[in-house]
């Protein structure tokens, strides 16, 4: 649990956790915070922010604050589900390739490299455009297809470096079955990289899904931040004096992506101590330097003491 303690001492990680906690609450209980129906076109269109409508209303007379709150769910679900599935796929491909080796490894690595190189977002757009308005399931599938390869490559590299460790050879000699060795011996050793991969995949999913919905390639009737941006852009919200229609969902996406990214950087620092923020020890030395440079070599006995 040293891991958790280190995480707790990192302000970056705590900020990420706090943002995620708030969004999770909004996603589960949107009705508590915003009782208005987000899609009902019942208010006066184009209102500015007020106590009745915290963020104002859209050109269709919908409450922007409710749209924002209710949109949290889809964005968060896409991020977590697509992130998880992509990570599972990377673990399957990466660890299998490393552990089995031989031709299987060469083939799996080749497939990984190909998917790594084919530009993800254009591929996302192309697939989504063939499957007209397929909704959330299609978006998640597309994000998983394009988002797993980076993790698979990293995990393969780490699994390769683990392959010849003594405890694995011991497990083999004990006669453990292969999948058991992978699940209970190798995977626990790779937890931190797997978590980091999940966070990276989640950031990618948040941004890519939002982009896809923004251009109208998701279903334009779902309640999500990307869809809000789509309608805001179609009604020229910025020019029409309803900037919050675009700003609110945009900030939501940025905060959600940022929360995952912050956690990822914090993880980076935990797993690579060299990158941790410098603390008092360094400051002391810096002060010493300001006072007159690094400690000078001692004066030679042979020279004059005054030098």
């Amino acid at each position: 649990m040293k891991f958790l303690r280190t995480l707790r001492s990192s302000p970056k990680a705590m900020a990420g956790v706090a943002i995620l906690a708030i969004f999770t609450f909004l996603a589960i209980f949107p009705g508590v915070v915003a009782p208005d129906n987000p899609s009902a076109e019942i208010f006066q269109p184009g209102l500015g922010p007020s106590t009745g409508h915290l963020f104002g209303t859209t050109s269709y007379g919908q409450d922007i604050f409710s749209q924002f709150v209710w949109g949290t769910r889809v964005s968060l679900v896409i991020a977590i589900v697509a992130g998880l599935l992509a990570t599972i796929l990377s673990v399957l491909v990466g660890v299998t390739a490393a552990y089995i080796g031989g031709i299987a490894d060469s083939l799996l690595s080749l497939v990984t490299d190909i998917f790594l190189v084919i530009p993800a977002f254009p591929l996302v757009i192309v697939i989504a455009s063939y499957s007209k308005n397929g909704g959330i399931a299609i978006i998640i599938a597309v994000l998983v297809i394009t988002g797993w390869s980076y993790g698979a490559r990293q995990l393969r590299a780490q699994a390769l470096s683990l392959r010849n460790r003594d405890f694995l050879i011991a497990a083999q000699l004990r006669g453990e079955r292969r999948w058991r060795i992978i699940v209970s011996e190798i995977l626990p050793m790779m937890t931190s990289l797997i978590v980091a991969n999940f966070l990276g995949a989640a950031v990618y999913s948040v941004l890519a899904a939002a982009g896809l919905q923004f251009v109208g390639l998701g279903s334009v009737t779902t309640q999500s931040w990307g869809t809000m941006l789509y309608w805001a852009q179609n009604n020229e919200a910025l020019e029409a004096g309803i900037p919050l229609w675009a700003i609110a969902p945009g900030l939501g996406i940025a905060l959600l992506g940022g929360a995952f990214a912050l956690l990822n950087y914090a993880f980076d620092e935990v797993s690579n101590p060299a990158l941790r923020p410098v603390r008092s020890k360094r400051r002391v030395r810096a002060k010493a330097r300001n006072r007159g440079g690094l400690p000078r070599p001692l004066p030679r006995r042979t020279g004059s003491p005054a030098a």
């Binding site: 080749l110 190909i114 591929l123 757009i125 499957s131 941004l207 945009g250 990214a261 690094l294």
Partner: protein
């Protein structure tokens, strides 16, 4: 030698994979979406280009799927991509050729700028680690890189084009101007490039800062840095010549790769600013169900990345002797 052969092999295998994706995707989707598109084409096209598209999408074709596949690949290599539906009757190839310079100009230049500024900030912040510079700039830019490109673009439009009306909100040049090589036109073009360019630089700088700073921190603990300090060299010389020069090596290949992603890198920025480049064209093709144009752009984008990777491999081979003996 075998290293080069291996990389060339990868180039062609991936190119083939991208073509295969292009070929099979419309056929895998329920109720082949290309059929509706071809119906709209009906009667307007004839001869070779109609045949090329029927083969590419598997519509009205009596030939078997293997034969279709082979002739599709042959058509791709000979540049027969068919006719664009959006810009009918212009061929896909000439539509693409018109859009390419805009993207390469905008995204290419901004990628280079972001790389240079980001690397410098990374070097300095690692050098003055824990100082004021280091605790302000890197976190700010890393936060900004979590923002979606298109959202930063929207905010830039709102601030600079709508509120203060300093700069144009979109397009590559003022409507109605003819594209020519005069100062007026170039000034107009640059004015239109400021906002999208700024958007790309602001959002992409964070990544370069982060990697450069990390590399620098590792490099700064090397013995030869201590040696340089002991020799009493000027600090800026140690920072740039000793640490920076070595720390930048891993980033150079990343930079090369990102040049390959220039063509596809800023699709949404181009979309937000209606910038007449490849990304905007791709989305136009998608929204108009102009599949021939879409397929070609996807292929072009992939080829750009593949070429960049080949070049990076060759340059690495030249710069870093360790790769030469690796095979």
């Amino acid at each position: 030698m075998s290293y080069i052969a291996k990389r060339l092999g990868f180039f062609f295998v991936t190119l083939w994979a991208a073509m295969t994706i292009n070929f099979f995707l419309p056929r895998l989707m329920p109720g082949n979406p290309a059929i509706a598109m071809m119906a709209r084409f009906h009667g307007r096209l004839s001869g070779q280009s109609l045949h090329a598209m029927e083969v590419a999408f598997g519509v009205n074709s009596s030939t078997g799927i293997v034969a279709q596949y082979l002739s599709y690949i042959a058509n791709s290599f000979t540049g027969h991509f068919g006719t664009s539906l959006t810009f009918f009757p212009t061929t896909v190839a000439s539509v693409v050729v018109q859009a390419l310079p805009w993207t390469v100009g905008l995204v290419g230049v901004t990628t280079v700028i972001a790389f240079i500024i980001g690397t410098l900030i990374g070097i300095v912040s690692a050098w003055r680690r824990g100082g004021k510079f280091d605790s302000v700039l890197p976190p700010v830019f890393i936060m900004l890189s979590a923002f979606p490109y298109f959202f930063v673009g929207l905010m830039a439009i709102w601030l600079f084009a709508v509120k203060f009306q300093l700069l144009p909100a979109g397009s590559g040049y003022t409507d109605g101007m003819s594209i020519q090589f005069t100062w007026t036109f170039i000034a107009n073009m640059l004015e239109h490039a400021v906002l999208p360019g700024l958007t790309i630089v602001i959002t992409s700088i964070g990544g370069w800062i982060l990697t450069m700073r990390n590399n620098m921190i590792t490099t700064l603990s090397e013995d030869y840095i201590r040696m340089a300090r002991a020799k009493g060299l000027a600090p800026w010389r140690i920072m740039l010549d000793y640490a920076g020069r070595n720390a930048i090596l891993p980033n150079l290949s990343g930079f090369g790769m990102s040049l390959g992603f220039v063509v596809s890198g800023a699709i949404l920025v181009e979309y937000v600013f209606s910038y007449p480049g490849v990304g905007y064209l791709l989305l136009q093709a998608v929204l108009n169900e102009d599949y021939p144009l879409m397929q070609t752009l996807f292929l072009l984008i992939t080829v750009a990345v593949l070429v960049a990777i080949l070049v990076v491999d060759a340059v690495t081979l030249f710069l870093d002797p360790r790769t030469r003996s690796a095979t």
